[in-house]
């Protein structure tokens, strides 16, 4: 049986040319390759789809407009009218996460196809995304409100003698946001892909035993097919959840009425 964890191994694609900067390994890895593929794919797709701006949209234009309107509505509903400035940021995050989740589900490693890599299954990637959102909230919060931004940690309508207990709780729940945001995505993607690989691996192992194993070996594949559909759903939902929680957090930077 193929090692189910092998799909998450980071491999350097530029082993001949050692790339280091101040002691940090900057090799071009398979993770970076798939990030590039995701970014290039969505750029080419959106550019190509919106090339002919027709009054009655074709299929590609329809898809592009659907993506745009989906995120635009999400930003408008969650941040408010002032949130339009954040639309490019939220759209980029949503598409980047969505591409990572979906590209990782492509079949790879068979018929000579290159192995696919899910870059959102690594805490380093999701952590970087979550920290970007976190620092965006802090920076734009201070730009928009100055020192009044600290009043975010003081909930309104709470008696003053509870505040010494409430403020530390608010502070900690603010600082665990990047952790929960990144771990939610990475754990979902990693667990899903791992499970998919293990269940599918049962089929290979059963077929390898011969006889009855070959006859019954297709059963895990059927279960795996169902899991693949489920994983597709999880890929979409997690990208959506990541984007929507980014919106909810960015709302704090825009208006402060709590």
């Amino acid at each position: 049986v193929a090692n189910p964890v092998e799909q998450f191994v980071i491999k350097s694609l530029s082993e001949k040319t050692e790339l280091t900067f101040m002691g940090v390994d900057l090799s071009y890895t398979n993770s970076a390759l798939w990030m590039t593929i995701g970014a290039v794919f969505i750029t080419v797709f959106l550019t190509f789809a919106m090339k002919k701006k027709e009054m009655v949209p074709g299929r590609l234009q329809m898809t592009a407009e659907l993506l745009y309107e989906f995120v635009a509505k999400m930003v408008k509903d969650n941040i408010g009218p002032k949130g339009r400035a954040f639309f490019p940021f939220v759209f980029t995050i949503f598409i980047f996460v969505l591409m990572g989740n979906l590209l990782g589900l492509l079949p790879g490693g068979i018929f000579g196809l290159p192995k696919v890599f899910t870059y959102t299954s690594h805490l380093a990637v999701t952590g970087a995304l979550a920290l970007t959102v976190f620092f965006a909230v802090i920076i734009f919060g201070f730009i928009n409100h100055g020192l009044k931004f600290f009043s975010m940690f003081v909930p309104s309508g709470v008696p003053w003698w509870i505040l010494p207990i409430i403020i530390p709780i608010e502070l900690i729940s603010f600082f665990v946001r990047p952790i929960t945001l990144s771990v939610r995505l990475f754990a979902n993607m990693m667990a899903g892909h791992l499970m998919l690989k293990i269940i599918m691996g049962f089929s290979v192992a059963a077929a390898g035993t011969g006889g009855l194993g070959v006859a019954l070996g297709f059963l895990p594949t059927i279960a795996g097919l169902g899991l693949l559909m489920f994983e597709l759903l999880v890929a979409l939902i997690q990208a959506y959840v990541f984007a929507i929680l980014s919106c909810v957090y960015l709302k704090d930077a825009v208006d402060l009425h709590h």
Binding site: K73, M74, D77, N78, P155, G157, I165, I166, P168, I169, E170, L171, I172, S173, V176, R177, T180, V241, I244, L245, V248
Partner: protein, 77 residues
């Protein structure tokens, strides 16, 4: 999608309880109060998280009512 507006409520409930638990745990670590610091702060956390969820829900329902008014305006326009 009106349900979006309450999307954070569940997560903030969880985060508040965990944050309170962390404070209680730290207090128990440095003061001889174990296990009462953790237990006490968990109770406080749950109470406060419930209060916060209640406030968030009231805000959500009132703002989604005004949101549906926006929609009517959209239709007129």
């Amino acid at each position: 999608m009106e349900t979006d507006r309450g999307a954070n409520t569940g997560y903030s409930f969880m985060a508040t309880v965990i944050a309170a638990g962390i404070i209680g745990y730290i207090i128990d670590k440095y003061f001889p109060t174990a296990p009462w610091g953790l237990l006490g702060f968990l109770v406080i956390g749950i109470v406060y998280a419930t209060y916060k969820a209640q406030m968030a829900m009231q805000e959500t329902s009132s703002s989604s009512a005004s949101h549906s008014d926006d929609k009517k305006d959209d239709k007129k326009a």
